[in-house]
């Protein structure tokens, strides 16, 4: 049998992401990716379920689109209805909503880096051979007061890991790519990261409590109604606000003294990868901006950049958004406005061997486009556009990071760069939360306790349409609602991962995941760590587990990576 010059790898499902995602890549004879396909493998039809319902009820159902980004779907859905009815919510309600959403940013970014992504860069087994004293000294090189990084702190974590591995029950860490040649951290740097991995487990749990203070619970919060928020009693109780702020304060310490120094360590170790532009997409970035502060200045600037042309930032205008399903398992082939888009499935199945029909329709994800282009959204887009717009709340943080790490703006358009942008955003979001909290306290101090805008539903127009567009942790989220006869006539959600993981379109333009994978070199195709690095850098939100098969039919599953003997 002749050896094929190209080979195809299927990764399904991709682990350490949220959702059911499949990636297929085609390698050339030098093991370089020359084709890539991203495919969503689950269809639930929440948009169909929303049709015909009372517009006031969309939030409670739309939030169930996702159990991770749950509160932003809730909010975007309610906001879309508010915009349709032109109901302006009280400032207090907006701030309470912001306190919940921005806390989610902090939580999501932390969890993404440490628990979902860091194992692509951190070799757990290597950490076992680190010298804790040298590791402590190493940590002090990246911050003058690193977060709990004394020699004994690090030795304790190392001991935990060692005992864990010796016990033979690796749980979360079983069967990683340990020992892969693409891992660059020293044993000491690996140990510092693992130490923070454990601490971040606690921090993210605490942030969930902060969210629940104003949202009742998470996931699936229950504090929003069309016109405002319901959590007035918690808002007026200083003890609740105090609890919230102290949790955020704790998280901020962690971000400044652990997350940021660790990120600088990552940038330094993988400088070559950044400078080589590994994981760089086509360079179309989009941010809808938002979260205005007391002076009406938005936290995030809006704007659109094409082809890495940083000297030209256009204004973001949602009318330029279209959706199409030329390569998706839906009936609508032509690009249309989301208000007019429908969600009628047209499933064309997989090939008999289970692989994607890559020439035809191959994903449940649609292809949203902006002026016909496939846009990358997320922290990198926000930091780049914020920087170019001189956003006062963004530029100093980005400048500081670039100076410390000797980077240029284009470096954020890479796998590592996306992570760096995410860390910067976590830090500045934490700081912004305090500004919003102060404003809320001032409002209450001067007797503004309003949390809901009064309206009489029966008096509202029976036909209307609106959009709720927000920057959320993974990028730009938009919910579009059209109302007829006081019922939902059409509903579409274009979520960040719809942009980033979108399949090719009618013009055969790849989506950002696909574009970023092209040109990646795999040291060992049986262990496609480099593919995971690129895909994970976007923080995908689908729901997941990982399988790799060889399209030629030979079982790559014959190997098994074991931790090194201790």
């Amino acid at each position: 049998m002749s050896q094929p010059t190209t080979q195809k790898i299927i990764i399904d499902p991709v682990t350490r992401i949220e959702g059911h995602l499949r990636i297929e890549v085609e390698l050339d004879e030098h093991n370089i990716v020359n084709q890539a396909w991203a495919s969503g493998q689950l269809f639930r039809g929440i948009e169909t379920i929303l049709k015909g319902r009372d517009p006031r009820d969309t939030g409670l159902i739309a939030q169930r689109i996702c159990g991770v980004c749950t509160n932003v779907h809730y909010r975007a859905s309610i906001s879309a209805v508010e915009q349709a009815y032109q109901i302006e919510i009280p400032r207090n309600a907006e701030i309470v909503r912001n306190l919940v959403t921005l806390a989610l940013f902090v939580q999501d970014h932390l969890v993404h880096y440490y628990h979902l992504h860091s194992l692509d860069y951190v070799d757990v087994v290597s950490a076992l051979s680190a010298d804790p004293k040298a590791a402590s000294e190493q940590a002090h090189q990246w911050h003058s007061h690193p977060y709990q990084c004394s020699q004994s702190d690090l030795a304790a974590s190392q001991q935990k890991l060692t005992q864990f591995v010796q016990a033979g029950r690796l749980g979360l860490f079983a069967n990683g790519y340990w020992g892969h040649s693409a891992y660059k951290f020293s044993p000491e740097q690996n140990l510092i990261h693992m130490h923070h991995y454990l601490e971040a487990l606690r921090i993210q749990r605490e942030i969930s409590k902060a969210i629940a203070i104003f949202a009742g619970k998470t996931p699936h919060p229950q504090n929003l109604v069309v016109g405002g928020v319901t959590s007035v009693m918690d808002m007026l109780n200083p003890q609740r606000m105090n609890d919230y702020l102290f949790i955020i304060k704790d998280a901020r310490e962690f971000i400044k003294r652990a997350y940021m120094p660790d990120m600088k360590m990552l940038v330094s170790a993988y400088r070559d990868s950044i400078k080589a532009g590994e994981g760089r997409g086509h360079g179309h970035f989009m941010s809808s901006g938002g979260y205005r502060l007391f002076n009406n200045e938005p936290l995030f600037a809006q704007g659109v950049v094409f082809d890495h042309q940083f000297d030209q930032v256009a204004d973001f205008d949602p009318v330029n958004i279209t959706e199409e399903a030329a390569r998706s398992w839906y009936a609508d082939n032509e690009p249309r406005s989301p208000y007019a888009q429908t969600t009628e499935p047209e499933y064309t199945d997989l090939n008999d061997d289970g692989s994607l029909k890559t020439e035809g329709k191959y994903s449940w994800i649609k292809s949203p486009r902006y002026q016909g282009k496939a846009m990358e959204v997320g922290p990198a887009a926000r930091m780049i556009i914020g920087y170019l717009r001189d956003a006062p709340l963004i530029k100093p943080y980005v400048d500081d990071f670039m100076q410390t790490c000797d980077l240029e703006l284009i470096d954020f358009s890479s796998s590592i760069g996306r992570n760096a942008a995410r860390a910067i955003e976590a830090e500045l979001t934490c700081d912004a939360i305090f500004a919003f909290a102060s404003e809320l306290i001032e409002n209450i101090k001067y007797y503004d306790e309003t949390t809901w805008t009064q309206y009489v539903f029966e008096d509202l127009p029976t036909s209307a349409q609106g959009a709720g567009i927000f920057e959320v942790p993974r990028g730009t989220l938009a919910h579009f609602v059209r109302i007829d006869e006081a019922k939902v006539a059409n509903y579409q959600a274009v979520v960040p991962t719809t942009w980033n993981a979108s399949p090719k379109d009618g013009q055969n333009q790849p989506g950002p995941y696909e574009a970023s994978l092209i040109g990646i070199h795999l040291a060992d195709p049986q262990n496609p760590l480099e593919v995971l690095r690129v895909v994970h850098s976007f923080d995908p939100c689908l729901a997941c587990a990982v399988h790799v098969i060889d399209a030629q039919g030979s079982e790559l599953a014959a190997y098994r990576i074991q931790p090194k003997a201790i």
Partner: protein
């Protein structure tokens, strides 16, 4: 309800704690001008002597109480119901003044370094620092002055101690001269002590901030250190503009001032009817109890009536006791004194009678039973003086140690010996002696130290008792373990390997804490901990597979994020969660290999947890997982076949949930329907509360079977309670107090959300009992109301809105 308490002493502390004990939902704020948290002034002498540190005498204060220190109240605004501390203001529903009293002085002490009052911890520290080789002058011979004198006599530092007494009385004006002489002789047995009667300060020479010479009528004292103990007066100046004041805040017998919302208790209060100001801790506590009962209306008739007070002094070998009837008036000309005096051993009993009734008693080294004296005063009966004579001899019970509970020395010694009490804490189980006002605590501690117990005999007794109990209960739980082993004959337990796993990833400590907590939750006594620990080892050996199907990961998110921190570490570390798509690090084929391995190696043993609905339309192809494109339905059937038990978590797994809401575009169904089985355990909720998952797992493990289920196959323990029945707002429902509009006054007050579409009456689930995110909140608490999300797809078609449905529940 918000209650503000002014004051930082024992009365303020006591009333704050008692309020919370009656109603944990009260918001309580203490404004104290002190720098330290409330402490027990009775033991200030111990601070001087250095036998106690401040933390030893700090009073327990419930953590929910908000305590503001260094907050001197300057003004009360009755109309606005606010108190001011300078420019800071605090609103109240009820205001309690428990500001105590402040010591009197003869001249302004703020500019002088070597003259001080004796009232606070700082005073005590300063006194302790200034004793060395000084001539100490104590001004005033009341109980405080005498107690301090007694303390100083025990200390070597002072060079000389002079007690200046304005008249010829010690302790109180009506103590008989013979007792005074006896006391004096006892004190002056120390050559450093000089008690000077009929003397007072007439002048002083100053050098800057120092008194260099103190000039009294009879003496000149150089380089003195002066301590004033000449009495106290209620500390109520801040309230003068707001409230009627006599000596203290004038209150009625409910302890209420002339303002309906302001009460005063303790030394700051003066009972208008009698002019009485409290002086004892017990008085303060009784007044506090009355005020609380009146405010919370638990007993609107509660009134304060003065009780017989028993007090005393112990100076070396000299013992002095004082019992005072509430009817006693020292100035009443009809008072008659009766003295019984013996010389060997020296003993004096002084009875003061009025109209043949006993109103006061002083006893020096007395044998008389003080509790009997108290009862005599309380009975208010006429007494025959001969009775005192016949009752003069020692009762067998020995000295009265604790007048608060009436505990005698002999009784206490017997208690200590019989029960082998070796420290104060252990005594609590047998007697409250030393715990009410605290005055005799040190004496009780000494008594315990000096009472010999036979350690062997007592240890034997205790052990035998424990052993019997343990054996009886162990038999019971052993039956359960046997049962578990019957259910799991093929699960060999390798303790060595498990121990390593437990040690791994740390936290043996956390683990032990968790075992204790779990033991408690399952309502077993602590002796079961070892058995629970064994149970967890077993769980560690039981493979768990968690499948995500047509879902949003919400239940997984809830599972990893919101469980109690020590629990979720354990879930990740101690329970063998072998396959979980969201959590596992394994990439490539390993996760699938692992799945196959478990199915092959542990048939009939692994537990399957399923999250999400199963889309059946289009041959199940709306969900495909894995490289071969296996449908969700096929995967579920394959894994379910050999599972020991199957738990369907979340509402989607129950019956399709939101995914199956109308028009159910993907033909989604729940796990039971997809598998056509009736033995699926359902744990609905959107998401399911992780407490219910962990609890059910533990139940399965501990008892060898799934918990009792209802008709929908849901565990009764989690799904029998109805949200409405256990709701924190239920009282408002019953009272007809409803929120009518988002953010209205009712919403701010936490009224019932039924009119706003709360579906709590239709939701049978335990949310109102366990809440979410480590008990942080739940949808009713944030003012939205319940949507009955645990009722499956019906919730999303009928309940997930803000409108009332169906008729009012009964």
């Amino acid at each position: 309800m918000k209650i503000v308490i002014i004051g930082g002493g024992i009365a303020a502390d006591y009333i704050a704690n008692q309020f919370l004990a009656q109603d944990a939902s009260l918001e309580i704020l203490i404004l104290s001008k002190e720098t330290y948290a409330p402490y027990d002034r009775i033991h200030l002498c111990d601070l001087v002597e250095g036998t106690a540190q401040l933390e030893d005498i700090t009073l327990d204060l419930a953590p929910q109480v908000q305590l503001k220190l260094d907050h001197q109240v300057t003004r009360i605004e009755r109309k606005a119901k606010q108190v001011f501390c300078g420019d800071k203001s605090y609103g109240y529903d009820y205001l309690i003044i428990a500001s105590g009293s402040e010591p009197r002085t003869l001249f302004d002490l703020s500019q002088i370094d070597n003259a001080i009052t004796f009232r606070s911890a700082d005073d005590s520290f300063k006194i302790a620092k200034n004793l060395q080789d000084r001539h100490i002058v104590i001004v005033g011979a009341g109980p405080i002055g005498l107690e301090l004198l007694d303390t100083l006599v025990r200390m070597p530092q002072p060079k000389a101690i002079t007690l200046l007494v304005i008249d010829e009385a010690l302790y109180a004006p009506d103590v008989d001269a013979s007792i005074v002489a006896m006391m004096r002789a006892t004190y002056e047995a120390d050559p450093r002590v000089n008690i000077v009667f009929n003397d007072q300060i007439v002048d002083k020479q100053l050098d800057g901030r120092l008194i260099t010479r103190l000039i009294t009528k009879k003496h000149q004292i150089d380089d003195p250190f002066v301590i004033f103990g000449i009495g106290i007066q209620p500390n109520v100046d801040f309230a003068r503009d707001a409230l009627p004041i006599g000596r203290g805040i004038l209150v009625d017998r409910h302890m209420r001032s002339d303002d309906l919302f302001i009460y005063a208790v303790g030394e700051a209060a003066e009972i208008n009817e009698t002019g009485f100001c409290a002086g004892h801790a017990r008085d303060c506590q009784q007044q506090a109890d009355v005020a609380i009962a009146h405010i919370l209306k638990t007993d609107p008739q509660a009134q304060y009536h003065r009780q017989v007070a028993i007090d005393g002094l112990k100076v070396g070998a000299f013992d002095f006791i004082d019992a005072t009837s509430p009817d006693y008036n020292p100035k009443d000309q009809a008072n008659e004194t009766l003295l019984l005096r013996a010389n060997n051993p020296p003993r004096i009993d002084q009875y003061i009678l009025n109209q043949d009734k006993l109103v006061r008693f002083f006893g020096a080294n007395t044998n008389v039973d003080a509790m009997a004296v108290k009862r005599l005063m309380e009975s208010n009966e006429s007494v025959d003086p001969a009775f005192f004579y016949t009752s003069r001899l020692v009762s067998e019970r020995g000295r009265l140690v604790c007048s608060c509970v009436g505990a005698y020395q002999a009784e206490l010694q017997a208690l200590i010996a019989d029960n082998a009490v070796t420290d104060f804490a252990e005594l609590k189980a047998y007697s409250q002696a030393g715990r009410v006002c605290g005055r005799c605590k040190n004496e009780v501690v000494t008594l315990i130290a000096n009472t010999e117990v036979d350690p062997e005999e007592v240890a034997r007794k205790k052990q035998a008792q424990q052993q019997a109990e343990l054996e009886k209960k162990q038999q019971k739980i052993q039956r359960r373990l046997d049962k578990f082993n019957r259910f799991h004959p093929d699960a060999p337990l390798d303790i060595n390997e498990i121990d390593q796993a437990l040690a791994a990833f740390d936290k043996v400590k956390d683990f032990n804490g968790w075992v204790s907590m779990m033991t408690l939750n399952l309502e077993f006594p602590p002796v079961y901990q070892d058995l629970v620990r064994q149970g967890v080892y077993q769980l560690n050996k039981m493979p768990v597979i968690w499948l995500e199907l047509s879902d949003c990961s919400g239940n997984s998110e809830a599972f990893i994020k919101t469980v109690n921190p020590s629990i979720d570490e354990l879930i990740l570390k101690f329970i063998s969660l072998d396959y979980h798509e969201l959590l596992m690090a394994a990439s490539g084929p390993h996760s699938e290999t692992r799945l196959d391995e478990i199915i092959e190696q542990y048939p009939g043993e692994y537990l399957l947890i399923v999250e999400g609905a199963i889309p059946l339309a289009m041959e199940g192809k709306y969900l495909r997982i894995g490289p071969k494109g296996e449908t969700g339905e096929a995967l579920l059937k394959r894994v379910a076949e050999k599972a020991a038990a199957i738990m369907a978590v979340g509402s989607c797994a129950l019956d399709g949930g939101v995914v199956a809401a109308k028009p159910n575009p993907t033909g989604a169904v729940g796990v039971a329907e997809a598998l056509a089985r009736e033995d699926i355990i359902n744990l609905p909720g959107c998401p399911v509360n992780p407490i219910n998952v962990v609890g059910t797992l533990l139940h399965y493990l501990m008892l060898g079977e799934m918990p009792a289920l209802d008709s929908k196959n849901r565990p009764l323990w989690a799904y029998a309670p109805r949200v409405h029945d256990n709701c924190e707002r239920r009282g408002h429902y019953d009272a007809g107090e409803f929120v009518k509009e988002w953010g209205d006054e009712g919403a701010k007050k936490g009224w019932c959300l039924f009119e706003m579409g709360c579906k709590g009456p239709y939701a049978d689930i335990n949310c109102s009992l366990v809440k979410f995110n480590e008990n942080t909140s739940w949808p009713v608490q944030v003012g939205h109301g319940c949507i009955a999300c645990g009722q499956g797809k019906r919730a999303f078609d009928e309940y997930a809105n803000n409108r009332k449905v169906i008729s009012m529940p009964s």
